[in-house]
Structures are given as structure tokens and as C-alpha cells.
Symmetry: C2
Subunit: 276 residues, 2 copies
């Protein structure tokens, strides 16, 4: 089991968690509450100067932990696969301008073709952009997604698959993002976290909770402590590998987005202290 | 890849697939269309003489492939675990009266306790009822459920887990039900089907499809061919083990239940011939 959370020095919050707020509001409020990190979703940068936005975030004392998200490599249409590669190269440029060292990859899946084909196209896509990532000094974090997203969001659905892919790609620029929401059910989770740590590939750790019942495939995630995920136990496994990065709060919730985001942020801080 | 379906001699349909029909209507209509098997859900037996209902189904030339469902063993409250054991014993009696040789187990999970505890309680629960199953000549088929049901429906979420559990329980009365809806995403599926076959534990094969997008956690399953599951390929793996049982059509669909069930049944037959 992990040590209790005694301060907010490892707290990172994703911009999408408080989606109704512009990034300027989010950065100011996260910082006032004591968070030390922000992961920026690309939609939060729309219509902004990216370099200046990065400087604005840092001016609040927040480290930009990662840019979300690249990926979505697979497509039965090779033209669309090329468009995806171009978009990932743009994401690498954006990450560089923003001043972050990591991009999270939601790898993609095309339901019109076999999963194996999508997996091959993911591996090929990542291999294609590794030189760009290396040139920009940006690490690519493969995020295995819950099997309920295997049809159209990611054909990488277990940590074992992500680990194998990082081993095959064998690049210091490729690693893994572990999100408890996607992986908590996996009977092999502890051993695969150990394997990921041995590979020196554990780049990021995302938290939220699985509500029981959950009513929406995408936007019904819970605050830590509201559901059945053993977050403290999993954080303990992650930290036992030597991981010393942020605990990133990433909650998609139509219900919470409809509430006062200042109160929601207070609840995030409380849930972080007590249930992460 | 499997051989094409050329006749309906292996077609079994679950009563829940045409839920609006009473079992008498379902039996008559399934038989007229050429199906040879029926799996009976316990709710279809409500208020009926079970033995007479079994005879009614067989009088239409339908074999009763299994009774759905036993299971739901885990509970943090030992009194409720005892109630679950009693209910499973009742299911064994019902299966015996009905004249089927198999019960499908949806094993259960309690979100208030760790998954490992739920898994231990499942194993203990099945072990407890094996003597009853043996005495009645009924096989118990562990059905691994999709990881999206890990919180409250089953803590057995991969075929690997089900295989390990059958190996540990090591009884001719315990095996596995493979449902493509729950397992299609698993990168280890082919090898685990081979393992299941070597264990002589592959007892049942359920089909439907995963719609993309899927909009409801429980009741938005698709007809074969409407989604992205490689059903023919998986049937090929199943049959390569020597499995010679029924292909069971099990579709939960609020949308289809609201349509004319005779037309739906015609569509099932067409989908079965072309996409199974």
C-alpha cells in the first residue's frame, strides 16, 4: 500500500477535468489550491498562442506534465493513416512550443478492420514518429484503454500489450501512461506494472474512479473514492517501481461539468487527499 | 476460419433474445424457423411447472442447451453468500427438472470489496455446489464477462481467469462458456481457447455482435454482422478444439425487444447464416 498523501506537490489536474473553464482560469485556480502540475488537452489551446499559453501556465508555478493527446493511428484507408501521422507530428510541435516533455497517445482502432491490423498500424505509426519525438525531446506515452473502447478508441487494451509494444519499439522516447480507470480490473495489473517499471517505461499515472453503476461509456467517471477502484493500492504498485511523477486527476463527467467548477475543484482536492 | 454455416442444426436461441415472447411462443417459433436448441433464462419459467415446460420445449424438437443463470456468489455479507449458494442449488434443481445438462454461471462481483476477494468467493461458491451439480448430472459453465462488468456482475473477466479456475477446481462438472461479446477484444483469446479445449472444459459458445458505437452497458448488443466482432474467426478457433455444440444466439437489446419479434427472428436466422 502507498504512503498517505500529505501534500499537493504531486497533484496534476487535466484541463479536461474542469472542461468548462478556459485554460487561463484553470491554471489560476489549480495553482491557488496548491496543485503543482497541469496536463493540457489540445482543445484547451484552440485560438491561442501556444508558447505564450505555456508561459502563462508556468507563471502560476504549474509544470506542464503532458499534452493530451496524440495517437488514433489505425485506419483502413492509408490516406487517413497519413493524415494521422501528420497530426501526431503537429502534436509534437505543439508539445515543444507548450514546453512539455510528454504526449499521451490514445492509440486508436478502426472497427472496420481486425484488431490485429489496428495493432500493427499503431506500432507502425509510433515507429514513424519516433524520430520527430526524439528531435523535439518529447516522450510518447502509450495509454492502454479499457477493453470497452477496443472498437474505435484503442486496440491497446491491457498494460501487457503496451509493455510488449514498448519492448518491441525499444526507444527511450516511448513509454506507457497508466490510468486506473482503464486497468483496475486486470488480474495481471501488479505484475505488468512491475514489468513496466523494469523497462523504465512508466511515464505517467492517471487517477479517477469507476462508479458502480456507471451509466455512460465516456463521461461518467467518478471522483477518487466514489467508486470501486483500489487507487491507493495501485499507486503503491506504481511507486514501488521508483515512479516519482505526478498523480494526474483526469475525470470526464457530464454531471460534474454541469456543476460549479470551483466547488468541484475543492472536491477534487479533498478526494485527492483522502482517496488517492 | 470456420466452415460456412449451411444449416440450422447447431442454432440455439436464448429465451432472453426474444424477451417479449412467453417461452411457449418462443419455442414454437424457434422450431418453425428451424432452430434446434433453446437456452432457457430462469425468468421465462416464472409461474410455470418446470418439468412440463421442459417437455413442451422438447415437443417442438428443441434441445434445452442450458439454464441461464446461476452464479452471483460474492458478497461482503456472509449471510448473502449463503443465500447465493441456496439459489444456485435451486438452479441445479430447476435445470434437472427442465431436462438440461448445463447451467451458465455469471459469477458476480461486489464493488464494496477487492476483486481478489470476490474471485476467492466465486471459487469457494462453485466448489461448494459441485457435489450438488454432480448428483444432478449438471455441468457448471463459468462465463467470463467483459471487464466493463467487473464492478458488479463478474470478477472473472478473461478466458485466462476462467481457465485457471477450472484447472484449480479440477472437476468434470465445471467448465467454461465462451461469449464473443465478452471476449473478442482479448489479445490472448486464441491461445486461451486452445487451452480451454485441452482442458476439455469448453462447454458453450454464445454469439452476438459489438455495435460501434455501443450506447448502453447492458442492452445494446447487435445482431451478428452488425458490429466489429470477428465471429467466424472465433467460431473457427472454438471448433478447432473439437467443440461440436450449439452456436447460441444471446442478444440483449432494448431496441430489438421493441420491434416485431417475428421479423426479428427472421433477421436472426439471416444473420446466423451469413455472419456466424
Amino acid at each position: 500500500m502507498s504512503d498517505p498523501i500529505t501534500n499537493l506537490s504531486k497533484l496534476c489536474i487535466h484541463t479536461i477535468t474542469t472542461k468548462p473553464w478556459p485554460i487561463e482560469t484553470a491554471a489560476a485556480n489549480f495553482a491557488v489550491k496548491g496543485a503543482k502540475g497541469m496536463t493540457v488537452w489540445r482543445d484547451a489551446l484552440n485560438g491561442r498562442n501556444i508558447k505564450a499559453t505555456g508561459e502563462m501556465v508556468r507563471s502560476h508555478g504549474l509544470e506542464i506534465v503532458s499534452l493530451c493527446r496524440g495517437g488514433f493511428f489505425p485506419n483502413a484507408d492509408p490516406v487517413k493513416r497519413k493524415i494521422a501521422i501528420d497530426d501526431n507530428r503537429r502534436a509534437i510541435e505543439e508539445a515543444h512550443e507548450l514546453g512539455t516533455k510528454m504526449i499521451v497517445l490514445v492509440c486508436g482502432s478502426d472497427p472496420t478492420q481486425p484488431l490485429e491490423t489496428s495493432r500493427d498500424q499503431i506500432q507502425e505509426g509510433i515507429a514513424t514518429i519516433i524520430p520527430d519525438a526524439a528531435a523535439a525531446g518529447i516522450q510518447l506515452a502509450i495509454e492502454p484503454l479499457h477493453p470497452m473502447y477496443a472498437d474505435n478508441r484503442s486496440a491497446i487494451n491491457t498494460l501487457a500489450q503496451a509493455n510488449t509494444m514498448t519492448e518491441v519499439l525499444n526507444s527511450p522516447w516511448v513509454g506507457v501512461a497508466i490510468d486506473v480507470y482503464h486497468l483496475w480490473w486486470d488480474p495481471d495489473l501488479e505484475q505488468e506494472i512491475i514489468r513496466c517499471g523494469k523497462n523504465k517505461a512508466l511515464l505517467a499515472f492517471h487517477v479517477c474512479d469507476w462508479k458502480s453503476p456507471t451509466t455512460d461509456f465516456l463521461n461518467d467517471r467518478g471522483l477518487m473514492g466514489e467508486g470501486c477502484i483500489p487507487i491507493k493500492k495501485i499507486r503503491g504498485w506504481v511507486e514501488a517501481t521508483g515512479f516519482n511523477g505526478f498523480n494526474e486527476v483526469e475525470i470526464f463527467s457530464t454531471a460534474y461539468w454541469q456543476t460549479d467548477q470551483s466547488i468541484f475543484l475543492d472536491n477534487i482536492i479533498t478526494a485527492y487527499k483522502n482517496f488517492t
